[in-house]
Amino acid sequence: MSKSASGVRLTLFLVLAVIVLLFLNVEKSGSFYVDAPTNVLFDKSTNTLDLNSLTLKQKIAQMIITFGEEKNKDQLQKMLIGGVYFGAKPTEEDFVKATGGFQDGATVPFFITVDMEGCKNPFENFRKFPSPREIGTSEQAYQVGQEEGRTLNEMGFNLNFAPVVDLNDNIWKCRNFLGTPEEVSEKANSYITGLQESGIISTPKHYPGETLSAGDLHKYSVYASVDANDLLPFENAIKNNVSAIMVSHTIVNGSLDSEAKPSDVSVKLVGGLRNGFTGLIVTDEINMQGLKSYYSDDDAMYVDLFKAGNDLVLNFNSDPRVLDHMIGVVESAVKSGEISEDRIDASVTRILAAKGISVVK
């Protein structure tokens, strides 16, 4: 009888424990809730934003670009994520609807970004453009830049992760301009001018070069030696007032030394670029093993990416909970003094200025 009673008591305990755990599991997997940002002082009539009105988390969020998935739109808007990236869609109307959907109701406008490189063309279903290898002259490069810029503008984009200015592309074999370093640089600059004249931010990549040189495909870290020729297209783009540059995960030595780290987490390399460049410094996508395999945990990587001096960090893991975690880790690093808030403010000021917003403090 007592055995039976203790068995039933155990059953009741287990039922209760299962109910509690079910509740905790549902809570954990439930939708991620973000409050609407009511604190932001943004005068849209003068396009002026008070930087001090943003919380530290909101400022860090402005420094992130993620994949623009419709299901996460509301949360990304409320978090004040800096930008969204779009992959291919069937029609022009689909793009207009998607980009407009993100901008409508956004407290601070998004960077609406894409990889439009010609060889890589997310608009292939309705617009054809030549790949960089098919562009023979600087004049043609300028025309292609203008034409792509107009197309991007029409669909609501404002930032293009192009052109590729690596001197070689031994992987895809279609993404780079052909010619001597001087010719590559000249074509790239003409393309950049055409794109930027159409109101699109150009992002030559992948600094400091040699990123698309095939190494051992089974090793995740890419090592390369860069020389003056690799740097020439970037130096000339800076002279040509390019608005942004993308830094790669390649570990480099030679003319530049990334201190045996991926370039975009090297304070020395990114800091060196910052010294001669007032535009935006953008990382390559951070879920690639070329970067991740350097770290035993993602949190240390997040801190290093922000500490290195990058303005914009590309994280295509569009789960808002992952992004919120990343923001929290960086916020803690700022609060502990590992990263200065002035550094974050400087990046956010550059980002807002690139979005055409005047910043006051």
Binding site: L24, N25, G87, C119, N121, I171, W172, K173, N287, N317
Partner: protein, 110 residues
């Protein structure tokens, strides 16, 4: 009494599963098991100008996430493309797809 023992056994099993799922989602655990059981290498090729060029796995995940669609071709693998009629497309294997999911790139097969 036997019935109570059976019920308690089932509840205890459920409890363990729920505790594990709370620590790490079961989908991630089963995903990792499937990934580890498949001993093939992640493969990714880009088709352009009549050539198939091998693409590093981590760069491939970034690329296929931004394609319009991925469709299975049976034993030939999975084709990812912007335009079904285009000569530019990616050919990947199942292992690559699992690898991308594991690395945080959500790629769906249509």
């Amino acid at each position: 009494m036997d019935m109570v023992k059976v019920i308690n056994g089932i509840l205890a099993g459920l409890l363990v599963i729920l505790v594990i799922n709370l620590i790490q989602p079961l989908s991630a655990i089963t995903g990792n098991i499937i990934f580890d059981l498949d001993t093939s290498e992640p493969q990714c090729f880009f088709h352009y100008s009549g050539e198939l060029n091998q693409i590093p796995a981590d760069r491939c995940c970034y690329e296929i996430k931004s394609q319009l669609a991925c469709t299975t071709l049976g034993e030939k693998g999975i084709k990812c493309y912007v335009s079904a009629a285009s000569e530019k497309y990616y050919l990947i294997n199942q292992k690559l797809l699992h690898y991308c999911a594991k690395e945080g790139y959500d790629v769906k097969i249509s």
